[in-house]
Symmetry: C2
Subunit: 409 residues, 2 copies
């Protein structure tokens, strides 16, 4: 894409109404726009990043056998009353309908998915399966904070699994943990993201969070360096040892909760009477798991953890563009290279604007594409282009006829 | 995908709580599920169709130069008060926030997009451009009706264009009309969908709708068979002639409004003071256009207009799968062909279930994929597979080693 056509532009100064680094930087670089506190719109650069995060999550959920659906954002008050959460969940947005009925704006979808799958489950033969969606959630927060991390409106993937037995849920749960690890690796957060033990509720001893170590985190977690897992604050207050090895020497760290997974058991299938007939013909309650991951929060966490003083450093897997091509007064040669890279299927942001070299370099660092190419009279003298990775300081001069091959990996 | 794995199944009977053919059929075939009146969730088959509709629309909007974004569903009451619609738009869902503020759940996004782009427009050099999104909209309807056609929650593409002059908007408007025509052609609705003159409001004489002829339509339109355009009811009451050629002999037809486009002029840029500096340095109001299309409504319209007594007949461009492969007791050979087709990138729904041939054929007609393949002991005797198109009755026997090549077009 040509940068001269992009309707957004970077801001010279940090937005005054943002406190968190992630929101300040994403707003300044033109990735997101704050509609109102805790509510963001995604601009062209930011929407490209979100779509790449979506694709990674979708691939891993498909590999897990999840079937993609899209559930409604509105649900009836009755469904939320059936689960018992209409009154107990304080962040539930409630709406009065013109039909004199009340609606909920879903912060999570158990109240939609359980009645939905109930229409299709009769026998043990219909189990197990899982469904997922990537969709907007709403939380009526008293105070929005931490930029994209705790919003009133945000993007989530939520997968719900349905099983005939606890054992079957248990084995799916392990597969889901493996899929989540793969997602965080692909998102460039693998090293910093810990499976974290959290309290499990009535059905099982533990649930789990995925926590990404970050000074910007709102949570405190306690790392066991032997097991490479962590426990959250609730758990540490109960038992103060590693739940796997009993290690007492846990390290306190700040972290961002980027995902959580939960064995729901019959918590929701019971109130909605979601049952199946077992082999003997007896009615049994379906056993459920739920597996969430926050897309906008992941985006915020990546910005918090992958940056330098100059701007964002996107992992290649989710960068808005792979290459930022900068023309310093040599738009004819740059245009030719731009076309060549596009033809090869390499995503390029081409800075063809009539602004100073300094502004182009500063914007390039702020926006944070993995590879920067500069074409100038100086590089063209030898038929070359300057290549610099966003990480590191090395600058290479590459022949124009080699560069597409080098970047096409 | 293997049909045995699909968690949905077709219903034997029409759902009793649906009146419209599109909702009855889409629910019965397992494409959508009604959460509550006027609010639908999209199931795996339906979500595949929606994604294909999205892809077609996205391609045409990208060709038009539109930049894809994703705006928030929530907006502040202040924004809606600034435009003057907080009190006047009766279908606006209003929410009370835990922060004691009021929010709107957007049925359209002028109130978000105008303040958003205001941050990036200063000069005539920043114009023209357009942004679009494909996203959920909400309308607080007193009565939901016509299935997917008039819901409380629905999917829309909305594009907003920004111009320095009326002439520039006018020429973009013509390009947008051409893009819309292409979209409806690609969706298989080209022949039945008419550019329809509607009243234009304060800024210009006419706006336009795209109306698809259908007995299920809620609208009456008046066709001019000379000009191949139509006028809507409001216009006919004013002037009762074709606005292009003056023809008085207009034909009354029922139709579904699948899209509308509008020259907004300064209707929204004025209250939000969205201005630019012209070449002489004078502040001028930005001129706007908006261009909508209802995705869930398009899906409903296609079902209404492309079906027979047995079920849906999807156009190939948006079918959930290109091929429905049915095994009649020959799962080994069918599995092999299924793998071969998948490897060739042909989308296949493979009916590997242990149910009767009659049930498989009935489901296949109901679900409506363009090509049906049947493998049975009879066809395998000659190393063949039976090919039938969803439209028409011709059945061909094709060699197993030829079928992938034939379908790979």
């Amino acid at each position: 894409m040509k940068q001269s056509k992009l309707f957004t532009r970077t801001l010279k100064e940090l937005p005054k109404d943002e406190v968190s680094y992630n929101a300040q930087t994403l707003v300044r670089a033109g990735f997101v726009d704050k509609t109102v506190a805790g509510v963001y719109s995604f601009l062209p650069l930011g929407w490209r990043v979100i779509n790449k995060i979506k694709d990674i999550i979708r691939e891993e959920m498909d590999s897990l056998g999840g079937q993609e659906i899209n559930m409604s954002s509105l649900a009836s008050a009755e469904a939320w009353k059936t689960s018992g959460r209409w009154d107990s969940l304080d962040v539930l947005f409630k709406l009065g309908g013109a039909d004199s009925k009340e609606y909920a704006l879903n912060p999570t979808h158990e109240e939609v998915v359980v009645p939905l799958v109930k229409k299709f489950i009769t026998s043990y033969k219909d189990l197990p399966f899982s469904v997922y969606q990537i969709q907007t959630k709403f939380r009526n927060e008293k105070r929005a904070k931490s930029g994209l991390m705790r919003g009133r409106e945000f993007l989530m993937k939520d997968l719900y699994s349905f099983h005939a037995s606890e054992e079957d849920l248990d084995s799916f749960y392990e597969l889901a943990i493996a899929a989540y690890r793969k997602i965080f690796e692909r998102l460039g957060l693998g090293d910093k993201t810990y499976l974290t033990y959290a309290s499990g509720g009535s059905f099982c001893k533990y649930s789990h969070e995925f926590q990404t170590l970050s000074q910007a985190g709102e949570d405190l977690i306690y790392l066991c360096n032997k097991c490479k897992v962590a426990v959250n604050k609730e758990i540490i207050e109960e038992q103060s040892v590693c739940p796997i090895c009993g290690n007492k020497d846990l390290e306190e760290k700040k972290a961002i909760e980027v995902a959580n997974i939960f064995k729901l058991g019959t918590n929701y299938t019971k109130p909605f009477s979601l049952t199946y007939k077992d082999k003997e013909g007896n009615e049994q309650l379906v056993i459920m798991g739920c597996f969430g991951i926050g897309l906008s929060r992941v985006m915020g966490a990546i910005v918090e953890e992958s940056n330098d003083g100059k701007g964002i450093i996107w992992p290649e897997s989710i960068a808005p563009f792979k290459v930022h091509l900068i023309s310093l007064g040599e738009n004819e040669a740059a245009e030719k290279l731009y076309q060549e890279l596009e033809t090869a299927g390499i995503e390029v942001l081409y800075d063809d604007r009539e602004v100073s070299a300094g502004e182009k370099f500063a914007d390039s660092d702020l926006i944070g594409c993995p590879y920067r190419l500069v074409i100038s009279a100086k590089t063209l003298k030898d038929n070359k282009v300057e290549l610099k990775k966003r990480i590191g300081n090395d600058i290479e001069l590459i022949s124009l006829d080699q560069i597409t091959k080098i970047l096409y990996v």
